[in-house]
């Protein structure tokens, strides 16, 4: 029971990381109609910069700030130089160009930081465990990630739903031409939205760094999952991103934790682990296929022609 609670929380925490990635991606796609495969590279930039700053300064908070800033700046630079020219282009062209960006960034980090993966340790003041329920310890850092993620989600909600900037963002998502006609400086808006998405990706990267090896290509793994999230949730929908992220996070984590054990009930251990792990990694794709089979536009997506 305790293990289930732990795993469920792990799933939520993973979901929160995915949400940070997904909200940026879905905003950019919903508003600018841009597929950005290099979103994962921004995650990677955040992780690399964060890990490096943490190693030199021994300050976790500084590392987070640095990671976010680096990702945001990289993102806005990307937007200025390349994305702007891609907005009017076909999705296919965007896929190809941003794929080129992935190649570039993966190679760049290898040149700058070498092929050895970096590691980022959990800071001392966040290590250890807290008792979330009497007798149930849970890693403090994971709680921190959850808290940060929820805070960001709330902030995003307030921003998108309540503020004037958010209103413009939602209007932009609904009708690009209209918002232009209303005199909103669309060029600046786009850059800001892109920068916001990049910052969130960077934040996700820094906070997730202690859980994984910081290396070239780390962005792509999470990018694919992020796409699964927004496909399930429906492109352009923040609500969809939240539901999708939680769903994917929980299904993936619980699947990895329990499916091999489940398979051991009737298969030999080696085969069970094999089949269980395979099915666990496939699980979210199966869920996505299922959702799309019933609702081809995702749970909260708008039906486009």
């Amino acid at each position: 029971m305790q293990l289930l609670l732990e795993q469920a929380l792990n799933g939520l925490q993973f979901g929160v990381t995915l949400l940070l990635m997904a909200s940026g991606l879905t905003l950019v796609f919903g508003i600018m109609n841009l597929i950005n495969l290099a979103h994962g590279s921004l995650f990677m930039v955040g992780a690399y910069v964060g890990a490096t700053v943490a190693a030199y300064s021994h300050s976790f908070l500084l590392a987070v700030a640095a990671g976010m800033a680096a990702a945001a700046m990289t993102g806005m630079l990307m937007e200025l130089l390349i994305m702007r020219r891609l907005y009017p282009r076909e999705h296919l062209d965007q896929v190809l160009a941003t794929f080129g960006l992935i190649l570039f960034f993966n190679e760049l980090v290898t040149i700058v930081w070498g092929r050895q993966p970096l590691s980022m340790p959990v800071p001392d003041w966040l290590s250890g465990a807290v008792e979330i329920l009497p007798g149930v310890p849970y890693p403090t850092y994971r709680v921190a990630v959850l808290v940060v993620g929820i805070a960001v989600a709330v902030f995003l909600y307030l921003l998108v739903m309540q503020s004037r900037l958010g209103m413009r963002i939602r209007a932009g998502a609904a009708n690009r031409d209209m918002i232009n006609a209303l005199g909103v400086n669309i060029v600046v808006l786009y850059t800001l939205v892109f920068g916001l998405g990049a910052a969130l990706a960077g934040l996700a990267g820094v906070m997730a760094a202690p859980f994984m090896a910081v290396q070239a290509g780390m962005g792509e793994n999470i990018l694919i999952l992020t796409f699964v999230v927004i496909i399930i949730g429906g492109i352009g929908s923040i609500r969809g991103a939240v539901i999708g992220a939680l769903l994917v996070g929980v299904v993936d984590t619980l699947g990895q934790a329990y499916l091999p054990a489940l398979f051991r009930l009737w298969l030999a251990p080696a085969a069970a682990d094999s089949a269980g792990t395979a099915l666990a990694t496939m699980a979210i794709y199966v869920v996505m296929a299922g959702v799309l089979a019933i609702r081809p536009q995702g749970l909260f997506g708008a039906r486009t022609a």
Binding site: L96, F99, G100, L103, N106, A278, A293
Partner: protein, 322 residues
């Protein structure tokens, strides 16, 4: 110009082996052979991407499934291990290659059945997801090498003859299959079926208003594409002597898309040029730096931003269309 490009290419490719001998660089034959195999897969992708606007980001799955079919059949045969109902596999191309096409085609049917209910970015992503599923499946199959993959003991025999061991014969076989596929796909494009496919690309709503039940035709095209890609996979397994899940990774799907776009979308011959360009680029760039992709990346970006229609399209001034 178009005629020149269409004729020059097969001719040039046919002359590669003698030229390689002249240059005393036999490795060139192997190199170009790999480009031909990738070109076959990319051509199959162009068939649906260029003519049907079905952007599949999961074609690597069909590539890998074709390759693994050959790999698994060969391994079982060599080790005399029962595979299915006591049958211990085979190392015979005339059996393995059609089977590779059938399996890839079958998976394409499954993927298409679900994916073609969506469109646009959703379609791109769900085809990607289906490829990822297969990737992870094979990564977890430790019996067949898992992440490290499977080595092939021997290349396939053809009708019992050990033809593929000879690099030269194999090269001409690949070239012949490529040109044959080109001819067949070109005929399909010009047929009634092809008109329907192209109509769906240009205006699917109008197609339905005219009375076409578009789903079935797109699905058929998708399956044909998957099967041909599977054949390319089978060829690759023999060429490399090795199969691994990396063949099904989404970066491979991306590479196939790059090849199509570099050479020219919806031309069928463009992908052949594209494969050769990518090959040349890789050879060229690695002499400059081992981190060659840091140059390739921006090159791709520039190609997208500046050259609509890829190389072939730009040369024949047939821009890539909406």
């Amino acid at each position: 110009m178009r005629l020149l490009l269409l004729v020059a290419l097969p001719l040039a490719l046919a002359l590669v082996p003698p030229a390689a001998r002249l240059l005393d660089n036999v490795y060139l034959i192997t190199l170009v052979r790999q480009a031909l195999i990738y070109a076959l897969a990319a051509m199959a992708l162009d068939f649906i991407m260029g003519y049907g606007r079905l952007v599949s980001f999961g074609h690597a799955a069909f590539f890998g499934l074709g390759a693994y079919t050959v790999g698994i059949l060969g391994t079982h045969y060599m080790q005399d291990l029962a595979l299915l109902f006591g049958w211990a596999g085979s190392n015979e191309a005339l059996l393995a290659w059609p089977l590779a096409m059938a399996i890839s085609g079958a998976y394409a049917l499954l993927v298409g059945l679900i994916s073609l209910r969506t469109s646009g970015i959703y379609f791109i992503m769900i085809t990607l997801a289906f490829a990822q599923m297969v990737y992870y499946l094979f990564v977890s199959l430790s019996a067949y090498g898992g992440l490290t993959g499977l080595s092939l003991w021997l290349p396939n025999t053809i009708a019992g003859f050990d033809l593929l061991a000879d690099g030269l014969y194999f090269y001409y076989l690949c070239l012949t299959l490529l040109l044959l596929a080109w001819w067949l796909l070109a005929r399909i494009v010009a047929s009634r079926f092809g008109q329907v496919l192209q109509g769906c690309r240009q205006n699917e709503r109008r197609m339905r208003a005219l009375g076409y039940r578009t789903y079935g035709y797109k699905l058929t095209a998708f399956v044909i594409s998957g099967a041909v890609t599977g054949l390319a996979g089978a060829l690759l397994a023999n060429h490399a002597g090795y199969v691994s899940p990396g063949l099904m990774h989404w970066s491979m799907s991306g590479e196939l898309i790059i090849i199509v776009l570099l050479g020219g979308l919806s031309s069928l011959i463009g992908p052949i040029y594209g494969a050769i360009i990518l090959l040349l680029l890789e050879q060229l760039l690695t002499t400059i730096t081992p981190y060659w992709q840091i140059i390739l990346g921006p090159i791709l970006i520039l190609v997208v931003l500046l050259f609509k229609g890829g190389l072939y399209g730009t040369l024949t001034r047939r821009g890539s269309q909406a």
